[in-house]
Amino acid sequence: MSLTLEDVARIALLSRIELSAAERASTRDQLNGILGFIEQLQAVDTTGIEPMAHAVDVVQRLRPDTVTETDRRAEFQAVAPETEAGLYLVPRVVE
């Protein structure tokens, strides 16, 4: 499998990453290089082997349902680009 320049443009749009034409070409080559590695992996016969969800075969540890966090809004908002009335402000998003 290999990606076209159009594929790269679409993935960039979905990821909200702006790529110049030159970057698009180099990104395509890099991604295709990664897909090449994956093709090598896919050459291994995995018939009958259950896919793993994670590289480490351990299971999720669970947390007791207790509130452990306190209000640190002031600290977080001190480093936010823009805030008002306790809200984080972002460029207008309209559906």
Partner: protein, 488 residues
């Protein structure tokens, strides 16, 4: 194309139930409703670099409870996935959800459509239910051309419950949504508060001609009341039928319902927006649920509404409609069982309890906009009234007065009220006979009218006798004695 072609409506629902935990699904922030913006949004919720999600055990317990309640399969191993979308209400750039292996799959719910004797039943199959996190809120009000983001809700645990496309009318969809809404509250996993968004539904709607394959569906998002759900589906169905009849094809879309106009309208969203590029979240390991954990949760489950409904019907001889009404909420069922227990096993006392709870009590609670848990008349007090109706101490009419007094808080129980107000029914035959004689003597005109064949005059005499005792005479005895004397 003729206008009278029959159309089949196909509806599937995807309600989101907010789980009743104290903290978020992947962080230790509180999920209490109504806090100041962003004071319940910590480093994990606002997606600062380097943070890791840790799954809340209680959220998993809620999912297991739900799976057991609907007879579903609980996955021994399920996987969390990233649903990628770029929107500031989840600053990570993805929502943690479940995709290929959800925690709950299969099962279903029996629903009742309509009321009384004309009600029909239907089994709605569930596809799956999965755990996920809620997003924050975007406020599009005037922040000088910018959008305000409140991330308190981000990370709140949700169970998304997906049905098969088994419903074929807005009435069925609403009946299902109501049954599910009642069930999640019954098993204590969701508070069901629709105003606060704790229970909200997406509805997938399509139409087709009988025998044809499924039509293209449109998804109505975020219906937060049963009335809106009904209106939105009815509008959407008619809109789709019109489109097709006018020769246009339906395009898959996400639509919003506008309560002000009663219309659904398509959201302007890019065609690519639904490419969520799901993949297993490497921050979270597979969730393992062992049989012993499921057994432990099962042992803590209350008797389920359907089972209780059947028991009420067989144990107390109630109609299936009455049994369904009394198991509408756990609190109603509890009230009924307490009242029956306190009444004692007299013949018909369960039926009397049922009638009073669905009649007088329901009407008063409704008028006062109160849940049954807050009823000023307790189950024991209601049982006290019913005992005195059953043993003929008071008539049903006086019983209503006793109920009013107890509702107003003027007495500790029925017996005290009856005693204090002298409302004991007169059942002494001698006393009633004397009274009947007095009434006959004082109402000769009515007596003559009755003898002349006017049936109404008899009722007037009964009324006079009841009035003379301020309703305390046993009406049956009064009627019998009057008949006896007039007939003789």
């Amino acid at each position: 194309m003729t206008r009278n072609v029959q159309w089949e409506v196909v509806i599937g629902l995807e309600p989101h139930a907010q789980l009743q935990t104290k903290s978020k699904i992947f962080s230790g922030s509180s999920i209490a409703f109504g806090a100041e913006p962003n004071v319940q949004a910590n480093a994990v919720d606002i997606a600062l670099p380097g943070v890791l999600p840790v799954l809340n055990r209680e959220a998993v317990v809620c999912a297991i409870k739900f799976g057991l309640a609907v007879g579903a399969t609980i996955a021994p191993r399920s996987v969390f996935a990233r649903k990628n979308y770029f929107y500031p209400d989840l600053p990570k750039g993805y929502q943690i959800s479940q995709f290929e292996v959800p925690v709950v799959s299969g099962g279903g719910l029996n629903i009742r459509i309509g009321s009384g004797d004309t009600a029909t039943e239907k089994f709605v199959r569930l596809t799956r239910a999965h755990l996920e996190e809620d997003a924050g809120k975007s406020l599009h009000e005037d922040f000088h051309g910018r959008t305000g983001i409140d991330l308190n809700r981000a990370g709140t645990p949700l169970l998304e419950i997906v049905t098969e496309p088994d419903m074929c009318s807005s009435a069925e969809a609403v009946a299902y949504a109501k049954a599910l809404h009642a069930l999640v509250q019954w098993i204590g996993i969701c508070d069901g508060n629709m105003q606060e968004g704790s229970f909200r539904c997406d509805a997938n709607v399509s139409v087709r001609r009988p025998g044809e394959p499924l039509g293209t569906r449109r998804e109505i998002k975020n219906l937060n009341s049963f009335r809106f759900m009904q209106q939105a589906i009815d509008f959407e169905v008619q809109w789709q039928i019109n489109e097709i009849e006018e020769g246009r094809a339906i395009r898959q879309a996400t639509v919003l319902f506008d309560p002000a106009t009663g219309e659904t309208r398509s959201m302007r969203s890019k065609e690519d927006a639904h490419d969520y590029r799901y993949f297993p979240d490497p921050d979270l390991l597979p969730l393992e649920i062992r049989q012993d954990w499921i057994a432990e949760v099962r042992s803590g489950l209350p008797e389920l509404p359907q089972a209780m409904q059947q028991r009420f019907a067989t144990e107390f001889g109630l109609s299936s409609y009455d049994a369904a009404m009394l198991t509408a909420t756990r609190a109603t069922a509890k009230f009924f069982e307490e009242a029956v227990a306190a009444t004692g096993k007299g013949a018909g006392s369960a039926k009397l309890c049922a009638n009073w709870i669905m009649g007088e009590l329901a009407a008063r609670l409704n008028k006062a906009d109160m849940p049954i848990e807050a009823s000023p008349v307790s189950a024991a007090q209601l049982a006290g009234i019913i005992r005195r109706i059953a043993d003929n101490t008071i008539s049903s009419k006086i019983a209503k007065d006793v109920f009013e007094v107890l509702w107003a808080g003027d007495g500790k129980d029925a017996d005290a009220v009856i005693e204090a107000r002298g409302w004991k029914q007169i059942t002494d035959t001698g006393a009633i006979e004397a009274l009947v004689d007095e009434v006959l003597a004082a109402n000769q005109k009515s007596v003559e009218e009755f003898r002349a064949g006017k049936e109404k005059a008899f009722n007037a005499l009964v009324g006079q006798a009841m009035k003379a005792t301020r309703g305390k005479a046993n009406p049956q005895q009064v009627t019998d004695l009057l008949k006896q004397k007039l007939g003789g």
